[in-house]
């Protein structure tokens, strides 16, 4: 047997704690001060635009934080809102026949860097927020369903989909009326959640958990 293969074989039986640590690892990118300054500047520009667009009639949307620490620009938002992509024929989902199903949006997320939500926080990705902003009025809000993927965190660490904690959270979401499914791929499983505008913006968080929703087609499939 080749020496390298002997080494490779011996890695199989390394301590479970190291394997678990590696499989559950979710990096939180450390951001430079310039990223933070850029983020604050971008937020101010977006806030200014929102005030300009909606004036005093803008009502508070929800208690959900955005969780965006990365670079985002006004042009991202503007471009995204002008595009008509990401809608699927409603007939693809029999249970959702009455709804317009949104699974993608052309708001670029490539330059965004997301902070992991702490316990009690629920974040929505940039494209998802763009889609909500775009479609909530266009299809009278509640007639739109967003196909999302959900990451669940605890103590700032991403939980494994197969864990008991995630399992109980999925059951809780189903009981609350969210339609969920587990999608399996070669890179692992993901939680898919079909949710309306209200279900996303008034998401009922459970103590001890953090949540991050992404649009389904933000990532490669």
């Amino acid at each position: 047997m080749k020496s390298s293969q002997k080494l490779y074989n011996s890695i199989t039986e390394i301590d479970d704690k190291y394997i678990e640590e590696a499989l559950n690892y979710k990096a939180v990118k450390k951001l430079s001060i310039w990223y933070k300054i850029g983020t604050v500047a971008a937020c101010l520009v977006i806030a200014g635009t929102a005030i300009f667009a909606f004036g005093n009639t803008a009502k508070p949307q929800n208690d959900i934080s955005t969780g965006i620490l990365g670079q985002t620009t006004l042009s991202d938002t503007q471009t995204a809102s002008e595009k008509q992509n990401g809608t699927e024929p409603a007939s693809q989902q029999s249970d959702l026949r009455r709804f317009k199903l949104i699974s993608s949006f052309n708001g670029s997320s490539e330059t965004a860097c997301y902070k992991s939500p702490d316990d009690g926080e629920c974040f929505l990705s940039i494209p998802l927020r763009g889609a909500i902003e775009k479609y909530k009025d266009e299809f009278e809000g509640e007639s739109v369903v967003y196909k999302t993927t959900l990451s669940i965190f605890s103590g700032g660490e991403s939980l494994e989909i197969n864990s008991d904690k995630v399992d109980s959270e999925i059951k809780r979401l189903n009981a609350l009326g969210y339609k969920t499914e587990i999608s399996k791929g070669t890179d692992g499983s993901q939680i898919i959640v079909y949710a309306t505008y209200k279900q996303l913006t008034q998401f009922e968080k459970k103590d001890g958990f953090g949540y991050f929703f992404f649009l389904y087609d933000e990532w490669e499939h």
Binding site: K2, S3, S4, Q5, K6, L7, Y8, N9, S10, I11, T12, E13, I14, D15, D16, Y18, I19, E20, E21, A22, L23, Y25, K26, A27, V28, K29, C113, E160, N162, D164, D167, K184, G185, T186, D187, G188, S189
Partner: protein, 185 residues
């Protein structure tokens, strides 16, 4: 269904245990086998063999962490299939991983201790303990799970070339640790 319930099904000799393993850990096991064999049908064969081995070993075994138990079985099964077939088939995944690990092998300059696999695992555990968490994570994801470097880099929020450099330094560090102990593989 949680792991305890699935293991209970194995103990009751209920075939639903296999279906539950497939549902919960099928994709995980498939990815480990595929990363070694780079062949979907061979990887699936390994996963099926894994369920059979789990069926034959539980009981008496009663793994607390079923995912890791299945992961280790599927890894061994895929390595065995590689050994059986590698003269007939080219398994790019494992060949690439082995060529990387060649860099960790010290040249036999003296009559050092010929180390056995079990001893080597024990040594690796001690070596891993000396690493910082990020380095340990990328080493295991690459050489235990066989994940592509690009995916590891993405998950670690860093550029692939940076991850590749870290991986290279880790291999050199492992080589130096093996040499220090005068272990001969």
């Amino acid at each position: 269904m949680d792991d305890t319930e699935i293991v209970a099904l194995f103990f009751e000799r209920d075939e639903k245990a296999i279906a539950q393993c497939e549902e919960k850990y099928g994709a995980f096991c498939q990815s480990i086998a595929y990363n070694i064999l780079s062949n979907t049908s061979d990887a699936q064969e390994c996963v099926n063999d894994t369920y059979l081995k789990a069926w034959n070993t539980i009981p008496p075994k009663s793994p607390e962490k079923l995912g890791l138990y299945l992961g280790k079985i599927v890894r061994n099964t895929a390595i065995n299939l590689y050994n059986k077939n590698h003269r007939k088939k080219r398994y790019a995944g494992m060949q690439r991983l082995l060529s990387e690990l060649e860099e960790c092998i010290a040249s036999p300059l003296s009559t050092e201790n010929k180390i056995e696999e079990k001893e080597l695992t024990h040594f690796l555990n001690s070596w891993l303990e000396t690493l910082d968490k990020n380095d340990r994570v990328i080493f295991i994801r690459r050489y235990w799970k066989g994940e592509p470097l690009k995916k590891i880099a993405k998950d670690c929020a860093e550029a692939p070339n940076k991850t590749a450099k870290r991986m290279y330094r880790l291999r050199l560090d492992l080589k130096s640790a093996l040499e220090k102990e005068e272990f001969l593989l």
